[in-house]
């Protein structure tokens, strides 16, 4: 048996709080007896009655705090003194507020609820790095939607995240699905065993939606941000993502989606893929360089990546032809017949940047002179993104269109004027449009565009032409915008519906007679 007696001079505490504290203290098995109270005459007598006798207690006054403990041994005494201090100091915070709580800062949120583990950050780029660091300091993973973050900052916080074993998806990361929850722009896809790491937002969406349609499901979809595979960043998050999926019990197949990285980074990533025990499908969009390899399946399109992944998840093989598995609709021929001999041009007006890049790659395989504002090769670049010539693929998410405006996936109406303008060009035979459904996207993207389509058809009609439209609705049956309804609106307006982006490109080509 050990005893501890201490008088703290002039440490006033409310008597009720001290009684509560003593009760709390006595719940411990290590306490035989305890008096924690102000040293009033009555309390001193009480202490004496249960055997706490000392000169210190005798000389203590009513403004002094008396702590007297009896425990099985010295160590227990020491532990209990620490416990008394904890209880005296305890920050009596309100019980954790509802999880819908609103805070002023990441630190404040973390102080209130230390279980928060994923910060979705969309503040202006100038301020983003500071918030990312705050989130990492609080032990949170980060989905960084913000763009205009410097490469130096990206390298610094990704290094920090790597050290801490946390993810930083982004900057400029538009899509992720973590533990079944879609973050920013994500479709409502089935959960399953296919894990995706993608440096491309609409690329990830396209792959995940087709996987869903083929009966597969997504375990995790990790975005990395478009610049992750650049030389300075070196694919840090892609590599960490691969390792997370390799370790994830729920993931049986891994899919990588990205524009072709610089060679040294590609090498690093492919090396990591080779180390994986799980089958990996690599989809380097618009890439001719990689074809097959040891244990690596190179997909030939986003659609192909989804098909290969679903086959692998079922332990099957799927042939890869480079063509869409969805046949071009019969109506394409009927559409083609209505066009005049001059109507040879395709105008593809995209909201999804990766879809535009894929379209440029596919179309350029069969037609010369296709231009786009997403092109990297000089001869494919548009001289003016606002003016189309010949076969043109426009990414309306390009900064030149979005300055001071929301991205066209949020507000597709910024595409409407362009649709009408293209219809006035008598060389245009077909206009290709994409519509992204899912979280983050516009609540009714087709509805926001349908009037422009009708107006374009009217203008062409008045000039004696028919205007063909191909529409691709990127979405699942569960997306809240109602996939069927969106398609029905397009069909009613005479728009031919494609089943994938690749299928949309092939349909447009069929209509103008590639």
């Amino acid at each position: 048996m050990a005893q501890y007696i201490c008088v703290r001079k002039n440490a006033y505490h409310d008597s009720v709080s001290l009684m509560t504290l003593t009760n709390e203290l006595k719940k411990s098995d290590e306490i035989e007896d305890a008096v924690v109270s102000m040293a009033t005459d009555m309390n001193k007598e009480l202490a004496e009655n249960i055997g706490f006798i000392s000169d210190d207690i005798q000389s203590a006054g009513p403004n002094d705090l008396l702590i007297a403990l009896r425990c099985p041994d010295e160590e227990a005494c020491e532990r209990m003194v620490v416990r008394v201090d904890e209880l005296l100091q305890s920050k009596k915070k309100k019980a954790a507020k509802s999880k819908e709580a609103t805070y002023r800062s990441i630190h404040q949120a973390n102080d209130d609820d230390a279980d928060l583990n994923m910060a979705v950050i969309s503040v202006a780029g100038d301020y983003a790095a500071r918030e990312v660091n705050a989130a990492l300091d609080c032990g949170m993973n980060v989905m960084l939607f913000s763009d205009n973050v410097s490469v130096e900052d990206e390298v610094a916080f990704k290094n920090k995240a790597h050290e801490l074993g946390l993810l930083v998806m982004g900057p400029d990361c538009g899509t992720a699905i973590i533990d079944g929850v879609g973050l920013c722009f994500a479709n409502d896809v089935r959960r399953g065993s296919i894990g995706i790491v993608a440096a491309s937002g609409t690329g990830l969406q396209e792959v995940s939606v087709i996987i869903d349609r083929l009966g597969g499901g997504i375990s995790q979809a990790i975005g990395t941000g478009g610049r992750d595979l650049s030389a300075p960043v070196g694919g840090m998050m892609m590599l960490d993502g691969i390792s997370k999926l390799e370790d994830d019990e729920d993931t049986s197949v891994i899919v990588l989606v990205s524009k072709p990285p610089v060679p040294e980074v590609a090498e690093k990533v492919l090396h990591a893929v080779e180390q994986c025990t799980k089958p990996v499908v690599v989809c380097f969009i618009a890439d001719e360089a990689h074809r097959g390899g040891d244990g690596i399946v190179f997909a030939r399109s986003l659609e192909d990546a989804a098909i290969q992944a679903v086959a692998l998840s079922k332990g099957e093989d799927a042939p890869s032809s480079g063509k869409s598995v969805y046949p071009v609709a019969e109506e394409a021929r009927r559409f083609a017949g209505k066009l005049s001999a001059n109507q040879k041009s395709i105008r593809a007006l995209y909201c999804g940047g990766t879809l535009a890049a894929e379209a440029l790659f596919e179309m350029s395989k069969v037609r010369d002179g296709v231009v786009s504002n997403v092109a990297k090769k000089a001869h494919q670049k548009m001289s003016d993104p606002f003016v189309s010539t010949g076969d043109t693929i426009v990414d309306l998410g390009d900064d030149v269109f979005t300055k001071g405006r929301p991205h066209p996936m949020i507000d597709p109406s910024i595409r409407c004027d362009r649709i009408v303008a293209e219809a006035m060009d008598e060389s245009v035979g077909v206009i290709l449009l994409d519509f992204e459904l899912g979280f983050g996207s516009n609540a009714d993207p087709v509805g926001a565009t349908i009037e422009a389509i009708e107006q374009a058809q009217k203008i062409a009609g008045e000039q004696g032409r028919h205007m063909a439209f191909v529409g691709y609705v990127l979405g699942t049956d569960r997306d809240y915008q109602d996939y069927q309804k969106q398609c029905a609106m397009l069909e009613e307006a005479g728009v031919l519906i494609a089943q994938s982006n690749l299928n949309a490109v092939e349909t447009a080509l069929a209509i103008v007679g590639a």
Partner: protein
């Protein structure tokens, strides 16, 4: 099992669209109502990052707040200002707030100074006193530069009796005059004969009796009185009813015991009993001498003084030299005006009483004083919200000063310049409103904040000084 053992727990920082879409998936999502840190001012953000990452600054602040919390103020005596206040000469007049020249002072402060000069016998009339004040013969100095504090105009002249409060833990002392009561009183700038007579009475009749009473009880523990008063509905700035009652309880028997004329003892005790703000002039020096124990802690960014002179609001910082003030314009108090007065009548924020908020009571402890909430123009939930918000800008909480409504959580203590600038949350101050014309008195009460400028200037100065 997913990436996270207990599932994803998202926190949205930025546009609420993404939060709404997470919630749409049936997942709870906390949200940060994000604003650029420090208003997006790159210089301030750089300063915050530089200081915020320094372990020595964090340690200095932890040390400073422990000193403040460990301080133990006790009323030990009462004496003429000239006998006890360092640097007090026969021609010195102390005033509230940061330094200011006489000609630039607000109406109530000028009025109070004229009254004090008449009281000291240095002038016959207020007009003559005004001439003298302008002559340059009188030295004006902030109370705070002499370990003193004064409510409203805060005027202290050499003959005035001042309470002597000693910090028993660290040994330093602070001083404040005796509160004269409400109505036409010197601190609001009144200087009529009635006011002078009352001051004389305090000096000649009250002080000798009070001194004996204090001696008889061997000092009065202000820390414990404040702690109890906070649990009895005071916040010890604008409401001092309970604290004054506790003081009377402590003193009344002593007034009967001491060797003075019973009529004089009765008069002195009645003077305290009739003024429920008597304790304000003990609360203030108690806070002052507690905070002074942190002054000089190198690399600390904690605030040790907030004070106003009716023209400027000034703060001092623990880690910067004691005579450095960071100032901005005094603000107008938002609150309730007494019947017959309008906001036109109000003087800007005035007085050293914001020392209570600096200590973590007053406005910071508004949750403790629901009964004055209406007086300062708010509701009980507002009061609780104010007290809770102050934890966001303070280093610590003081378990000695616990707030029952907040489940006995210790009052938010140790205002950190970095946190104020980072969050944009300004300290909240409960205060009285003086009439802008000298001598009219109190015309209302309400809530006021310091100008952000003080904290921004202080932050930048810390960054420079601590390198």
């Amino acid at each position: 099992m997913g990436l996270f053992a207990d599932g994803i727990k998202p926190l949205n920082v930025g546009t609420s669209i993404f939060r709404d879409d997470i919630v749409r998936q049936g997942v709870a999502c906390a949200h940060v109502d994000w604003k650029p840190v420090a208003g997006g001012d790159a210089r301030l953000v750089a300063a915050l990052d530089a200081l915020g990452n320094r372990e020595d600054v964090a340690q200095a602040n932890a040390k400073a707040v422990e000193l403040i919390k460990a301080a133990h103020p006790v009323l030990v005596g009462i004496d003429h200002a000239r006998n006890v206040i360092p640097g007090m000469t026969d021609k010195t007049i102390l005033h509230a707030g940061p330094p200011i020249a006489y000609e630039n002072m607000c109406g109530p402060m000028k009025g109070a100074i004229m009254g004090a000069l008449v009281y000291e016998g240095l002038a016959e009339t207020p007009e003559e006193a005004n001439e003298l004040a302008l002559s340059g013969e009188i030295e004006f100095s902030p109370c705070h530069e002499h370990h003193a504090v004064g409510p409203m105009s805060g005027v202290v002249s050499p003959s005035m009796p001042v309470h002597i409060v000693e910090n028993k833990t660290h040994g330093n002392r602070s001083f404040a005059t005796v509160n004269e009561g409400l109505g036409k009183v010197l601190r609001f700038g009144a200087n009529s004969q009635e006011v002078i007579d009352r001051l004389k009475c305090i000096e000649e009749e009250f002080m000798p009796v009070m001194r004996k009473a204090i001696e008889a009880c061997g000092g009065i523990d202000l820390k414990s009185t404040t702690a109890q008063a906070l649990n009895m509905g005071d916040e010890c700035h604008n409401r001092n009813k309970a604290a004054t009652a506790l003081l009377v309880r402590e003193l009344s028997v002593r007034f009967m015991e001491i060797d003075v004329d019973p009529q004089a003892a009765k008069k002195a005790l009645s003077f305290i009993c009739d003024n429920e703000h008597y304790f304000l002039n003990l609360s203030m020096p108690a806070c002052k001498c507690s905070l002074e124990s942190a002054q000089g802690v190198a690399n600390s960014t904690l605030v040790t003084v907030m004070a106003r002179n009716g023209v400027e609001f000034g703060i001092k910082v623990a880690g910067l030299a004691g005579d450095t003030w960071f100032t901005g314009p005094a603000q107008m108090v938002q609150g309730l005006m007494f019947p017959g007065f309008t906001e036109e009548d109000a003087a800007p924020d005035l007085g050293d009483s914001a020392i209570t908020e600096t200590m973590g009571i007053g406005g910071f402890a508004m949750a403790a004083a629901p009964s004055i909430v209406q007086f300062v123009g708010g509701s009980v939930p507002d009061a609780i919200a104010f007290s809770e918000q102050m934890y966001e800008i303070t280093e610590s909480e003081n378990p000695s000063y616990s707030l029952p409504v907040l489940d006995f959580r210790g009052a938010a203590t140790g205002i950190d310049v970095m946190k104020v600038v980072e969050t944009g949350i300004l300290p909240v101050i409960n205060t009285g409103i003086a009439h802008r014309v000298a001598g009219v008195g109190q015309v209302g009460a309400g809530i006021v904040h310091p100008p952000m400028e003080c904290f921004e200037k202080a932050l930048l100065a810390c960054t420079e000084a601590f390198m």
